[in-house]
């Protein structure tokens, strides 16, 4: 197992009378790409700012290599931050921006220029040393910001929605590149985003947050395939969430039918919620399926069709490459492994 680098223990944070963090506990490991994912106002940025040292937790501990650091000022921490709006110093050129941290540490000039050059090469901006940072494009500014942080060789790089201000195409490209840089420098990245696709495609571990609480911690596949509650299921990807109950282990009932499933460990007859991902559902002739319904709407999405099917009980969302005209009666087919059963939660 890798070493724990940062431990958050029961962090809370109050702003005026509002509690934005309600007891966050989290272990962050060496060389890990960890993403804090959640809607705006869920506390993900506050958590990041506490790790950076810009905010002090109201209660709880922040351990760095086992040492409590929640009162240590930001400039004495071995972490660096990439800000959402880059926060490049407009009165300094590209090289001086990157060298800012090294200059403060009184590193020798020749060493600085070597390191700056190497960083620029890594982020693909060789030869940009003397450019005015305010004249760079958004993507280029973000690269300079990343170089400026990484040149200090921090143990952890914190990234606060760094791609939020870029347009879709560059964002995709930067995602790949960030992942590549992380592997290259081999340090821990803590990444904050509200974009679930970004979180799934880049991370080793995803922490889903809502309302100042952690909803689930897991690998991207865990989070997607085994959401622990309704919030995670609906926030990550699209899903059909159906109320039902467990008859016994491996047998669940919903929409008045019983289905075999792969889930166990619930009490007999426990009220549960069932997730069916749209892409796991198939449309077949009505006689081949238990649940049947009528096609109400079909939209072409490129790779697949999105079909809205109205059954007796509800509307199902199905993603399939098969076509079915509006008004056609069809059956919904899915296997035991397509059913995911979760504990029921009240709040959402």
């Amino acid at each position: 197992m890798k070493n724990k680098l940062i431990e958050l223990r029961n962090l809370t944070k109050n702003f005026d009378d509002q509690q934005v963090l309600k007891g966050i506990s989290l272990d962050i490991y060496e060389n890990e790409f960890l993403t804090l994912l959640g809607p705006s106002g869920c506390g993900k940025t506050t958590t990041l700012r506490i790790i950076a040292g810009f905010e002090e937790p109201s209660d709880g501990q922040v351990l760095f290599n086992g040492i409590e650091i929640s009162k240590v000022p930001p400039y004495k921490r071995e972490v660096n931050t990439v800000f959402q709006k880059y926060a490049l110093f407009p009165h300094l050129n590209v090289a001086d921006n990157i060298a800012f941290g090294l200059n403060l540490k009184k590193v020798e000039k020749s060493v600085i220029s070597q390191k700056v050059e190497r960083m620029l090469k890594m982020v693909g901006l060789s030869g940009f040393e003397n450019r005015d940072v305010t004249l760079l494009s958004g993507g280029q500014q973000q690269r300079v910001a990343i170089a400026r942080a990484l040149v200090n060789e921090p143990k952890v790089l914190l990234l606060d929605e760094p791609l939020g201000a870029l347009d879709a195409k560059i964002r995709k490209q930067m995602q790949l590149e960030l992942k590549k840089i992380q592997r290259e420098v081999g340090i821990t990245f803590v990444y904050v985003t509200h974009d679930q696709e970004e979180a799934l495609s880049m991370s080793d571990a995803v922490v889903v947050m809502n309302n100042g609480e952690i909803q689930q911690i897991g690998t991207p596949t865990d989070i997607y395939n085994e959401p622990e509650n309704r919030f995670v299921a609906s926030f990550i990807g699209e899903s059909n969430i159906i109320e039902g109950h467990m008859i016994r282990d491996y047998l669940v009932e919903f929409d008045d039918f019983q289905f075999e499933c792969v889930d166990k460990g619930f009490e007999d007859n426990e009220e549960v919620e069932v997730v069916l991902r749209p892409e796991d559902l198939d449309i077949v002739e009505p006689e081949h399926a238990k649940i049947t319904g009528v096609v109400r709407d079909i939209t072409f999405k490129g790779v697949h069709y999105e079909i809205m099917i109205e059954t007796e009980k509800r509307m199902y969302n199905v993603h399939t490459t098969d076509y079915a005209p509006v008004g056609k009666k069809i059956g919904l087919l899915f296997g035991p492994e397509d059913i995911h059963v979760m504990c029921k939660m009240g709040a959402y």
């Binding site: 810009f54 400039y75 972490v79 800000f83 926060a87 490049l88 407009p90 305010t134 494009s137």
Partner: protein, 279 residues
């Protein structure tokens, strides 16, 4: 359509008349400063005689020197006080912040005559000898707000994550202020100081309460001389002062528009260069 055109003509005529009335006295002063004759009745011929006389007037030159020293010193002191004040004001997170900001610029709103009287009483209580020192303190009092307001406005436009970034990269709060905040607000400090200097250079009301018997500033000198009748020498002086303050104003507005233009340029470049082709 015709009606409208007639209307705009009327408007233009009105504006022209207004400006004429506003600037007629100034124009006359400038014109007669070049008059050969001492009389105001007619313009008898172009001459620089009054300017020559002015520069030979040692009392007048002494007053000018005082004014310049006072203006520069009070500006420098206010620049330090105003800039630090603006920085700490903008860092405040109190609920009473608005009230504090209001109090900070109060000297701009208090009638000058009251400010002058209050300062005089205060210095008298402290038993400070009236002279350059009291003048300097008095001028600093009303110069600080000009700089404070300018710097505060420029800080409000500054991205707060810039100083956070500096601290994140290893700068203490003080270093972050010196390396990041100060260079970025410098244009605002300069334009605020210029405005403050102009204000210091033409203040009569406050200065006259606190200058003491031996020291005179240029505006006070003009004011006291005018009581004995306007001479063309004063016209020449007014013309020079007008030229100086107009120049200061011009420099100030060039500073401003330059800043604005820079901002606009940045936005345009941002938009223009956004799909990023060099990747």
């Amino acid at each position: 359509m015709k009606q409208m055109r007639a209307n705009t003509k009327l408007q233009n005529a009105y504006l022209a008349f207004l400006f004429f009335l506003m600037y007629l006295p100034v124009a006359i002063v400038i014109l007669f400063s070049f008059n050969e004759s001492k009389l105001y009745v007619s313009f008898s011929g172009f001459s620089l005689v009054w300017y020559e006389k002015l520069f030979r007037d040692s009392a007048m030159m002494e007053a000018l020197k005082n004014s310049l020293i006072l203006g520069i010193l009070s500006c420098a002191v206010s620049a330090v006080i105003g800039t630090l004040g603006a920085v700490s004001l903008s860092a405040l997170k109190l609920r009473s912040k608005g009230v504090l900001e209001y109090i900070a610029i109060l000297p701009l709103m208090v009638p000058e005559i009251i400010l002058g009287m209050v300062l005089m009483a205060f210095f008298y209580m402290l038993k400070l000898p009236f002279g350059m020192l009291t003048l300097l303190i008095g001028h600093t009092v009303f110069c600080v707000p000009y700089i404070l307001v300018e710097v505060k406005a420029s800080l409000a436009l500054m991205d707060p994550s810039l100083t956070e970034a500096a601290r994140d990269l290893g700068a203490s709060s003080w270093r972050a202020f010196l390396d990041i905040t100060l260079p970025l607000v410098m244009p605002a400090v300069a334009s605020g100081s210029l405005l403050a200097f102009a204000m210091s250079m033409d203040d009569v009301v406050i200065s006259i309460f606190i200058n003491g018997p031996r020291i005179s500033t240029l505006p006070i000198k003009v004011y006291t001389q005018i009581k004995t009748g306007v001479t063309p020498e004063i016209n020449a002086l007014c013309t020079i002062m007008l030229a100086v303050s107009l120049t200061a104003l011009a420099v100030f507005s060039i500073f401003r528009s330059h800043k604005k233009e820079e901002n606009r340029d940045e936005e345009q470049i941002d938009r223009a260069s956004e799909p990023d082709q060099e990747l």
